[in-house]
Amino acid sequence: MSNERLVGGPGVPAVSFEQVSKHYGQVQAVRELTLELPQGRAIAFLGPNGAGKSTSMEILLGLKHASSGRVSVYGKTPRQAMTAGHVGAMLQSGGLPADITVRELLNLMSQLHPKPLPVDEVLRRANIADLADRKAGKLSGGQTQRVRFAVAIAGDSDLIVLDEPTTGMDVENRQIFWNSMKAEAERGKTVLFATHYLEEADQIADQVVVINKGRLLANGSVADIKAMAGFQRIGFRLPGITREQLLNLPHVVSLDVVHDHVRIQTSDSDKTFYALLDQGLRPQEIEITALGLEQAFIAITERDDDGENIGDNAAEVEDAR
């Protein structure tokens, strides 16, 4: 990462949330979120639908005001950061007038930016040179997403915020899109994207932030998140086994016994498995697999959901837009 892009010195985080809450009437969309996102990273915002991802993003973009707490972007208020040209953003939907061409749109967006980029450069970076003369209303879903990404990078912003950027894209388009996203990150920009495609986070992110029910659940590298969920899974069959016999195994994160089948999530599969053998158990049909980010994510959010008080479903609301 080139240090010359760092705005206001390396100590200033790109985004900082301090005790940020947002509620709509009774509904608590974001709860006391405290989070610092450093400069120059690709950061994935993960969370199930209604977790508060979009609301958090709208707050940091200045589209919504936090009910309490403080958000700063490069040490400024969200609006100041926007006016200074620090931020380029792509929302989940909309934003393209049907009757103007892609080139006209990008021309405007670049002129509205304090640090404009040549339109042809933007077209190239977003991989949409072939769409330049098309009317925005005549684009397919995947093309529309790529054009909306181009809008987000029409100026030389330091932070690029993308809310579910690859929704509605086919596999091929998604791959092209990821390459453009990676290229922006490699230019030293901070890229913050919300997604529910875990593969996307796995491929692109250096840092993953997991949000559930409006609260911060985990924040770390992809490896950290996997470790947090329990790195590996051990599965086997053992006739007559009971849950009680397995409760004192080391490094176990979660334990599942259904009839004769056992599934264990563990942060150290070797030690767990040796301990199992030391107890004199001889399991059959043994499988030991590493967890992907997807399973890790599901494990973390499920654990969180189980730990919550029953009836506390205030955040189970679609991100209000």
């Binding site: 973009l61 200045g62 589209l63 005001h65 040209g85 380029g88 049907a98 009757d99 103007i100 405007l108």
Partner: protein
């Protein structure tokens, strides 16, 4: 400022290439003018010395202007709210007044051909005015369009999206009817009309053309509409900030 200008330029281009807008602001009023003018050749407006042709010239020029400023802005803003365009613009360095400013500038450009073309057609129908009368009549209608632009912005922003189209249509047709855009109103209709900007834009421009003294009360009412609607538009812009 560059940003506001850039957006204004794009607004103008979008308006001028919109065939529906061009039809209602130029072609339709000109056709109605030609029809009306041929039926009133040589007649004067009852109770005045104003030739009916002159009256209709001003009336239909202002009718086109209402479509270009009121309808165009109200419908487009409702559309742009739906499309998320306003939200997208809030994710740029465009100042908060930039959107409305660009709409107003674009409207002032868009109404110009509506007036000029109708005036040009007027000369072929026997309307004879001095240079300063042409210019003054143009300026009255041109500046008067600000009231309709502000009203259009307030309606487009202020009403629920599905209500914008019917309300705009009602305001457009009823306002033009009471304002005397279709024929010279009198009696109760005129009393009602005298509260409306449609009436006063037409009336003041007619007075200029007919060399009558301008009624300053009317100018004040027109100015009141401009200011009132501008405030309403600004309030609505704030209210919709988190949409």
């Amino acid at each position: 400022m560059t940003g506001v200008l850039a957006l204004g330029r794009l607004e103008i281009r979008r308006t001028l290439r919109n065939r529906r807008v061009m039809f209602f602001t130029i072609l339709y009023p000109v056709l109605l003018f030609l029809l009306s003018a041929s039926s009133v050749k040589g007649k004067v407006v009852p109770g005045t010395h104003t030739p009916y042709v002159d009256y209709f010239l001003v009336a239909y020029a202002s009718f086109g202007v209402i479509a270009a400023s009121l309808n165009n802005n109200a419908l487009r803003i409702a559309q742009e709210r739906k499309e998320g365009w306003i939200r997208q613009l809030r994710l740029t360095a465009l100042p908060s007044y930039g959107y409305v400013t660009s709409k107003i500038c674009a409207s002032l450009v868009a109404v110009t051909p509506a007036i000029v073309v109708t005036f040009a057609v007027g000369t072929t129908q026997g309307v004879k005015l001095s240079g300063s009368q042409w210019v003054s009549a143009f300026l009255v209608i041109w500046l008067g369009s600000l009231a309709f632009t502000a009203l259009g912005i307030a309606i487009g922003y202020g009403l629920p999206q599905d209500a914008v189209q019917p309300v705009t249509l009602i305001v457009y047709v009823a306002g033009s009817f009471l304002g005397g855009q279709f024929y010279a109103v009198s009696g109760t209709l005129e009393t009602l009309g005298k509260a409306l900007p449609t009436y006063w834009v037409r009336q003041i421009a007619t007075d200029v053309v007919a060399k009558n003294p301008v009624e300053w009360g009317g100018v004040a009412i027109l100015a009141g509409w401009v200011v009132g609607c501008a405030i309403l538009a600004a309030v609505m812009y704030q209210k919709r900030a988190e949409d």
